[in-house]
Symmetry: D2
Subunit: 393 residues, 4 copies
Amino acid sequence: MATKKEVRIGLIGTGLMGRIHSNGYNQVPHFFPELEYTPVLKAVCSRDAEKVKAFAEQWGYESFETDWRAIIARDDIDAVDICTPNDTHAVIAIAAAEAGKMILCEKPLARTVAEGKEMVEAIEKAGVANTVWYNYRRVPAVTLAKQIVDSGKLGKIFHYRANFLQDWTISADLPQGGTALWRLDADAAGSGVTGDLLAHCIDTAMWLNGSITDVSAMTETFIKERVHQLTGKVQKVGIDDACLFHCHFGNGSLGLFEATRYARGHKALYTFEINGEHASIRWDLHDMNRLEYFDHADDSVVRGWRSIHISDGDQPYMNRWWIPGTSIGYEHTFTHQVADFMKSLETGEPCSPTFQDALETQKVCEAVLESAATRSWKETGVESFAGFKTELV
Amino acid sequence: MATKKEVRIGLIGTGLMGRIHSNGYNQVPHFFPELEYTPVLKAVCSRDAEKVKAFAEQWGYESFETDWRAIIARDDIDAVDICTPNDTHAVIAIAAAEAGKMILCEKPLARTVAEGKEMVEAIEKAGVANTVWYNYRRVPAVTLAKQIVDSGKLGKIFHYRANFLQDWTISADLPQGGTALWRLDADAAGSGVTGDLLAHCIDTAMWLNGSITDVSAMTETFIKERVHQLTGKVQKVGIDDACLFHCHFGNGSLGLFEATRYARGHKALYTFEINGEHASIRWDLHDMNRLEYFDHADDSVVRGWRSIHISDGDQPYMNRWWIPGTSIGYEHTFTHQVADFMKSLETGEPCSPTFQDALETQKVCEAVLESAATRSWKETGVESFAGFKTELV
Amino acid sequence: MATKKEVRIGLIGTGLMGRIHSNGYNQVPHFFPELEYTPVLKAVCSRDAEKVKAFAEQWGYESFETDWRAIIARDDIDAVDICTPNDTHAVIAIAAAEAGKMILCEKPLARTVAEGKEMVEAIEKAGVANTVWYNYRRVPAVTLAKQIVDSGKLGKIFHYRANFLQDWTISADLPQGGTALWRLDADAAGSGVTGDLLAHCIDTAMWLNGSITDVSAMTETFIKERVHQLTGKVQKVGIDDACLFHCHFGNGSLGLFEATRYARGHKALYTFEINGEHASIRWDLHDMNRLEYFDHADDSVVRGWRSIHISDGDQPYMNRWWIPGTSIGYEHTFTHQVADFMKSLETGEPCSPTFQDALETQKVCEAVLESAATRSWKETGVESFAGFKTELV
Amino acid sequence: MATKKEVRIGLIGTGLMGRIHSNGYNQVPHFFPELEYTPVLKAVCSRDAEKVKAFAEQWGYESFETDWRAIIARDDIDAVDICTPNDTHAVIAIAAAEAGKMILCEKPLARTVAEGKEMVEAIEKAGVANTVWYNYRRVPAVTLAKQIVDSGKLGKIFHYRANFLQDWTISADLPQGGTALWRLDADAAGSGVTGDLLAHCIDTAMWLNGSITDVSAMTETFIKERVHQLTGKVQKVGIDDACLFHCHFGNGSLGLFEATRYARGHKALYTFEINGEHASIRWDLHDMNRLEYFDHADDSVVRGWRSIHISDGDQPYMNRWWIPGTSIGYEHTFTHQVADFMKSLETGEPCSPTFQDALETQKVCEAVLESAATRSWKETGVESFAGFKTELV
């Protein structure tokens, strides 16, 4: 272990993502022992000193800070991991870039394209390694979907559809804002389901199917006012509770997307389906270890959708885990991304999605919101999409 | 049986729908023996004398004709059943109405709203019983969905989504037009998947969830030219191969619809889902005897989507068939509509969907096509939707 | 139609099976118009004159009788269809055979092997056409399973498992005996779930996988006493409420079978699975239009169970019905058997399962019950199993 | 962290289970930070010095040994974790008990009841904390099943059925014996699927449904001879490739069990179902985060099996992990058992399944094998089954 090159992590934010990234840093050495680079949990930052101290102890960070600027100022930090609400991504990332730190930033990249562009410029100027945590690319079933698409088995693509359905904000009694509910506060989040959920769908979609060129969208805010936790007052809700759009992809296929937090019965149902001339693929986060695949080349009388349990060693990432038939969980996707980031330092290749990739997704999100606001079609301005290599693991 | 009131049927068209309606007329006396009115297979009409004669023998029609006008001219016909391509619906229906015949017309009502309005006017002027064969309303699972919605169990509705996915026209070698493939010929069909598939989705949606008020749509014709069977020449394809739209319902919920014949792996996957404040419902034609239902009132630790096998006597129409656990098929939905039509003659109530109801669906279809053509939102002009009683059977 | 050869049917019994067979006779001319022989509904018999008269009118029988002997005595009856409780199968079938009638007998063939042997002897002596209504062979998905097995795709077979789970007799308040509940009365039924449900499983199993050679079984009667509807008294329950057994097949594979009427949540869940060296098959009556198929020859990373929707014209029997993606129902399996019986008169081939075939199933049932009673393994005495041709339709 | 009481672990065996237990020890402090006792990875043992050194580095063990006796001899080890092949469980466990170590032993407890009894005696004499890694009890869905059963919601139980189907030994080219394939070597494993797979099914079954009193079984060895990796010679295969049995439970319900490694298409399909008077439960390892539940008390027209996604904070163990809708994996069940073992040291309650509990499962396994060998029913001798508290986490 002495010969490993250390990547000293400074984590900012101790919510769900702070926990799950910390798990990834801890797990990578156990499951990817061959990597040349290894993460070291150097410091964690959050505003509440007592809580961040406890977090540091729980997860094994050597130290803690209560001001994110202190993390960036430290010489013993190589990489900054940004797990704070969306309104802080830009300022932290730009400062970190200027300090020459590698950056791992939670998604969405930013609240707006303008913020995102500044971030990309800062990264590029600094020339630092970077990645954005669109973790679903590294669900083994989704990575396999990418491999199938790249193999050409689907032929010409006609349709891509995805949705991300939740039901946790239906109650009108739920407040907005504050530490736990910043996702309902437009100032902190930038948008509602568009940045939170559709951004995932769009990232996966463009990775699998290329650029989205123009969109026509609608949004809705079902509950117009909620108590704000910071002010204690009933305030207008600024986020989109639901967002639907259809679009063209650069390859001529049609896209259909929907996200909502008002779909009773769905906790976090992220699904996508892609229909090609010769074959089709479906996936569903609730059953994330399965991929459904239809191959028109099968003999017609026994042709049907295959339910593939992704748990064999020849399926993406699965040689790292257990035995055929056994499942992995949600957090493993982040662990995979940590591993791929470490590997990227070794190879010198980018660890996609990079800030630039995530900016493309941001462009689509912004076009979607503008389309909904103006009730008209919008060009996204996405010209290309670099994609991602799936050969790594 | 002597005391039954006869409804002497004149069927026009001997394709798939001609067969399946004929089956319905034959089956109703066996499974709905209490009905006061009973269908009698008086005459069938198709242009090919030899074929229509064989059809008459096979299905038990007393006679046959080769000109539809002959059917309408006959005194011994009470009801005309229109199973011909869409371009003939209006002319036949209007003539039939003028002759005082009851009319059962295949869907979509017409190629355009203008045609549909003329048909409704003719029907209203003549005051004859009428219905349109939007058969999916009478899938027991779908009828049960209606009963659940009407019970108020769902609470406020947030979302309605439906799609109708097929894959039978992917081959570029498939010709358009002629007897078998008139659905690919814009002149005969009026439109592609919009009138053929989305019309079903819209009829069910408005029945379950009320009027659709405005729409934003996109269409695509993936294969631009095909040989026309009547001319033998390669001609431009005028139909929509795929159509997607989002919309508002009058009750404030958001709708999302998609239909295509280019979704590899789906033979005829008609699905819908409706998400309410308290409960949600899903259905899928491929497994038509099941309804999925989620009730948020269930105890939280054992809450989940229920897969309900619709085969018990207390579920809609199922007291007519077999025993719990056993399935019925596609054709039964038409048999149910025949039964309900006969019953409507007894009660004097309309047998929905009526021509008027179907005209409302036509308005949405036309708004969808206009929206796609102009890349803009369109009002549908649907002001209300009468709905349908589910208490009958 | 004049040239068709008539098979004049005399139906005995007007319960569920009487209805569903009548439907089959009515439907065959519509869906199998090419058949040389055609059923004619000549007479129906049941003890209640008023009810049988109504039944005759409803289903189109020309006449009715109230004594089954009258059916057999009539010269204008060619084929006797036995739909009465099990205790009457032997006496009616033997009398019918002696009168030279063709016989279509409901399953199980008899209450005992001894009864069954007499019936087979009578049939053979008379040389009359015969069949037993093990209808599940003619579910298209099951027929396709047979074709797959016969093709050799499965390779050597290791396992066969089947169960038939119901839940309709759990209430202790349910009486036994009488017209509706004769299945709970050991005198009338011969046995409980063994003859009613396992007989189906065994018939399918031996058809698909060959002879069952020896068995080890257990049975249970959960509710020991029930009111008898004929006597009005609380009487001991003589039937098996549940029966489980494992066995060897002649081909060396292992079998596992279970039937019960105490499996809460299952209306009529008949499932089977067969595991071969190269491929496996699963089926489930609740979703009868689907077959699940696993082919180990598929590329390993995209290998999974295929869910095949059996609704295409190249799948068994399905060229007779509707269009891809649409379902057929439970009653169609009986319609298929009527068609195959008519066809067998044309070809001179037996219409399996014949009385002889059904006697082999009876032997397994009896060995199962004896094994349970003696808590020991029993040989079945089944030496071979003729099988069935699937090429017909 | 300074105040935690350390439980210094000595792990013996570095195969799949060695890895997954090590993961559990590493993860417990992150996800169960409130525990008073905490595992410390003191030493790991395996015969190959180079490999065990690498394992120690990878997983964070402070030291390593190449002779298990050295682990037991060390004063700085509090608990011995036995992950070696079955033939070494007894000798190691007895020595560890005599040395006063706590013991965590992989399942099955032993090769035979005789071995198991000696182990229990040693444990009891030493009075040391102990547990056996029947990990499936701590799948959250399975723990929830236990809570539902204990709540009485199922009412009287009629049926319990379970199977464990694999397909990894179908090839005749697979050798037996040696490090990787000791499960195929009867000397090392004691039995085939009975100890490997059925033991899991039996443990869960008796935990959920009480004691199994008598059994009737059959076994089969499909491939009679395989090359032995240690001798290089073709030798008789001594294990059972498949085992099926039915049984009575002490509560009067009927059990049906099957395990095989010859069920093509199943990687590790462990399923169970329990049918009660009022409700039923099903579970399937391939989709381990789901539980299916049927409640007869639901309104009849909307009654169906519920598919419950076990990922909410009020479901067992799930408040430790992520957010509703997200999955956990196979290894988490071992992490849960580590946590529960640590907790048991705090409460002084046993951490079930204890050696005594596992001995009861061993008795059933042995009765099953004897029943199969003698083709007769066997009493198991299991008199009671202590069960397990589910309130902990």
